[in-house]
């Protein structure tokens, strides 16, 4: 539209100065893999949607780049006892639809996400919340059922984003008329963020415009357009021809191509996620820890990172990425060691190897990983069959425990060890909630439970360190690597950041010459 043209003109004027100064305005175009599924921040639980939500909605607190909790919509907060938290809210904030942000609004949001009729996929974030009470207009009290240390981390998650109570009410109205929950909100989302919703053509593009009334310093660009471009080669083409300013994601093997081109570079950012190869620990032969350890030694993580991810990413030794609260840097490293692996197998009685399968969904990197694993395990006579499944089927079947080995990843949007491990390894979380290894260790269960309830951060770190040591010992999974987010950035812009959970930070993005 019109802003595009303005930006071009501005570019022309700037040419002479040649200086690299921040410049307001312009329409930022992002090519993204897929469309948001909903604009209701309670209504979905995928990164793509979150990336949109993060620009429209804000939470009570946020995490900075050092993984520290900072004030956002809540100015300050205090914990009166193990289960009670009180938040003082900012009073200069209004929603995009003109509603005032206050304690009622917070209650409306937190109640809704826990409402079984709404059936929010992000319910798990606040499952432990017992009640939300309005103390006064600017104060809200949250009571949990049991002591829950990572509550602030959960509140910093996108799922804790605040939506205008007016839209929430309208949405409930809509549900009465037979509409799906979130349908009304998706039509006219209103948050408090630095961008406002403008338009959405589902499946194609979504446009946000600058929120001029933002309570803090507003964003620099006039508008942001997210365009859906599913084919990677096409995204790169868009970026190189200068049509799009940001292309996300860039495939590892395209990094070189983009960096070699004159008009774009790839932004690399370490993530808080982990990729892993899991074992079905309830099924022979993976119920034998020696077999699991042996395979962990057979797998060459470096080769996978090199071969599949073009060397991008950090080798993982545990489920938590460096920087995450509770990360244990002293956890012993499992070395690639074929001889030792063979010995272990011999001890376990699988001297001659065995036949098994490895499952993956139809994600290129995971399929490639599977191929490398298949190759490596041949060394110990283990014959691996690669099963590729479509994602829906994959989730269902692996939750049901039909698998042998499987490849998956886990991202950690709260930056807390609890999020990064509880669901994956607690025996109450078997199957769908995350523990697809069907791992069960009472010791670990106990540590994880304690970790949640412990208020003292020092003690928590200690507890989680122990968990990670257990995990190395028990080897329910082989942790491969912590991936890096690869985002193609046009040379026309600057100021782009992405956080460790893959959420774009577009507030400071601006056009340069």
């Amino acid at each position: 539209g019109g802003s595009d043209k303005d930006a071009d003109n501005a570019d022309d004027q700037n040419k002479e100065s040649g200086s690299e100064e921040a410049k307001a305005g312009g329409d930022l175009i992002l090519d993204v893999l897929s469309d948001a599924s909903s604009l209701d921040t309670h209504g979905s639980n995928d990164v793509v949607s979150s990336n949109i939500h993060a620009n429209i909605y804000e939470s009570l607190v946020k995490r900075n780049d050092k993984n520290e909790i900072e004030a956002s919509l809540a100015e300050k907060w205090e914990q009166s006892d193990d289960v009670t938290w009180e938040f003082t809210l900012r009073d200069n904030v209004t929603f995009h639809d003109g509603e005032k942000f206050n304690a009622e609004a917070v209650k409306a949001n937190l109640d809704r996400i826990r409402d079984p009729k709404v059936a929010s996929p992000r319910f798990f974030l606040f499952e432990m919340v017992k009640s939300v009470d309005v103390v006064d207009d600017q104060t809200v009290r949250i009571t949990t059922e049991y002591p829950f240390a990572p509550l602030l981390a959960h509140l910093s998650h996108n799922g804790g984003g605040m939506m205008s109570p007016k839209t929430i009410a309208a949405d409930y109205e809509g549900m009465k008329n037979g509409k799906e929950p979130g349908a009304v909100i998706s039509e006219q989302p209103a948050g408090t963020g630095y961008f406002k919703f403008e338009s959405w053509e589902t499946g194609s593009q979504l446009k946000l415009v600058k929120n001029e009334e933002y309570w803090d310093t507003p964003a620099l660009v006039d508008s942001v357009t997210f365009k859906v471009v599913p084919e990677s080669a096409t995204r790169i083409a868009d970026l190189e021809t200068g049509y799009a300013h940001i292309a996300d994601p860039v495939e590892p093997n395209e990094v070189k191509q983009v960096n070699d081109s004159d008009n774009a570079t790839v932004n690399q950012k370490a993530s808080s996620s982990v990729s892993y190869i899991g074992f079905n620990t309830e099924k022979a032969p993976f119920d034998d820890v020696k077999v699991r350890q042996a395979i962990a030694m057979l797998i060459d993580k470096e080769e996978i990172i090199e071969g599949v991810y073009e060397g991008i990413g950090i080798q993982a030794n545990g489920p938590l990425a460096p920087g995450i609260f509770g990360y244990n840097e002293d956890v012993p490293v499992v070395e690639h060691n074929v001889e030792k692996a063979k010995e272990l197998l011999k001890e376990a009685g699988y001297e001659d190897g065995f036949k098994t399968s490895i499952w993956t969904n139809d994600n290129q990197q995971r399929m490639d990983t599977a191929i490398l694993v298949q190759q490596k395990l041949k060394a110990a006579n283990i014959d691996v069959n690669v099963e590729v499944m479509e994602f829906g089927a994959y989730l269902e079947k692996s939750a049901a425990g039909e698998h042998d080995m499987f490849i998956l990843g886990w991202s950690n949007p709260t930056g807390d060890a609890d999020y990064g491990m509880y669901a994956l390894f607690h025996s109450s979380q078997k199957g769908n909630p995350g523990n697809r290894a069907f791992y069960e260790n009472p010791e670990v269960d106990k540590l994880l439970d304690e970790g949640r309830r412990e208020a003292d951060p020092e003690k928590r770190v200690e507890l989680y360190n122990q968990v990670q040591e257990h995990l190395v010992e028990d080897a329910p999974m082989v942790f491969i690597h912590h991936q890096e987010y690869l985002t193609g950035i046009s040379n026309k812009i600057d100021g782009f950041e992405i956080d460790t959970s893959g959420i774009y930070q577009l507030k400071n993005v601006h056009f340069v010459e």
């Binding site: 798990f124 349908a183 589902t202 829906g392």
Partner: protein, 315 residues
């Protein structure tokens, strides 16, 4: 004629019911629980159960089907279980782009196919016939997605003589902004069709040229040009039109790959995404709509038969 049309429309009803049953059962046979997919990789069982409850997935399958079909008969195709938007809206915002893409591709295919086919038939067994048919076979043998990728690579990485990145601009909706955007997808999709039509036209023309009435025309002293373009072509068009109809249908359903490559927000991608996300109502809706269009296109084909050859008795 109207009677014929009404009858044909009525006849589509069992077909559509069949299609809906088929898609319904297929979707329920596929492993993959929509609730689980919506909830994501790490949702608790409780969350999943709540979502399942909300979507009515706990009902027996036949109850789900009948409630679906009774709503559908009232014109309500339900709403997406993922975005909550009405299926009709979702489809409406995508269908035209796909129909347009199919339409232009058909135009291209017919235009090139007819010319090539006629030349080939008239000069059959000459060099031009053989070369046209070889080119056509190549067009036919090329995987469309491959061709799309190669085209994108050419135009993006840029051959100097064709520096037209505009070709690649993704369109916000429809083809409004720049007609050039339509070119690459249409070439990608239309090439195979052009090849098929060329071959069909050729064989149909050859067949017609051997007919007695062509000899009659020559015996009247009609010029060769008129014999080909007037007497032969009108008759030769009939089988060609069937193919055109089928091609149009194939373009509608088969544009998925092209849509993916060129980031066109059409029905194909909508359907594929919906299948992957087990968004049942959307899948049912798109399949039904595509089937309706297919049936409708075939109706048009039959009517054009009638217009071309009054002989065909529509009853």
């Amino acid at each position: 004629m109207t009677k014929f049309i009404i009858r044909r429309v009525l006849q589509t009803i069992p077909v559509l019911i069949g299609v809906s049953i088929l898609v319904f059962s297929l979707m329920h046979l596929i492993p993959g629980d929509p609730a689980q997919i919506i909830a994501g990789e790490g949702a608790s069982d409780k969350t999943v159960e709540q979502i399942r409850e909300r979507l009515g997935l706990n009902e027996p399958v036949h109850v789900q089907y009948f409630s679906y079909i009774s709503n559908a008969l009232q014109g309500d195709l339900g709403s997406s279980i993922r975005s909550g938007r009405a299926v009709m809206d979702e489809i409406q915002s995508r269908i035209w782009v796909t129909v347009e893409l199919a339409f232009y591709s058909t135009l291209l295919a017919v235009f090139i196919g007819l010319i090539a086919g006629i030349i080939s038939a008239v000069r059959h067994y000459t060099l031009s016939d053989i070369s046209i048919m070889i080119v056509a076979l190549f067009g036919l043998s090329m995987p469309s997605f491959w061709m799309g990728l190669v085209l994108i690579q050419w135009f993006a990485v840029g051959v100097d003589w064709l520096p037209l990145p505009e070709f690649l601009r993704m369109r916000p909706s429809g083809w409004g902004d720049d007609w050039r955007q339509v070119i690459l997808p249409v070439i990608t999709l239309g090439t195979g069709g052009a090849a098929i039509i060329a071959r069909m036209t050729r064989s149909s023309m050859l067949e017609v040229i051997g007919q007695d009435y062509i000899r009659t025309a020559r015996a009247k002293g009609v010029s060769e040009r008129s014999v080909i373009y007037k007497h032969a072509l009108k008759n030769a068009m009939i089988p060609v039109i069937t193919v055109v109809g089928l091609e149009f249908g194939a373009f509608l359903g088969g544009a998925v790959l092209t849509e993916t490559i060129f980031a066109i927000n059409g029905m194909g991608r909508l359907t594929i995404d919906a299948i992957r996300q087990r968004d049942f109502p959307i899948v049912q809706g798109t399949v039904l709509v595509i089937s309706v269009i297919f049936v409708f296109v075939n109706l048009i084909v039959d009517i054009s038969y009638r217009l071309l050859n009054k002989r065909i008795d529509l009853n």
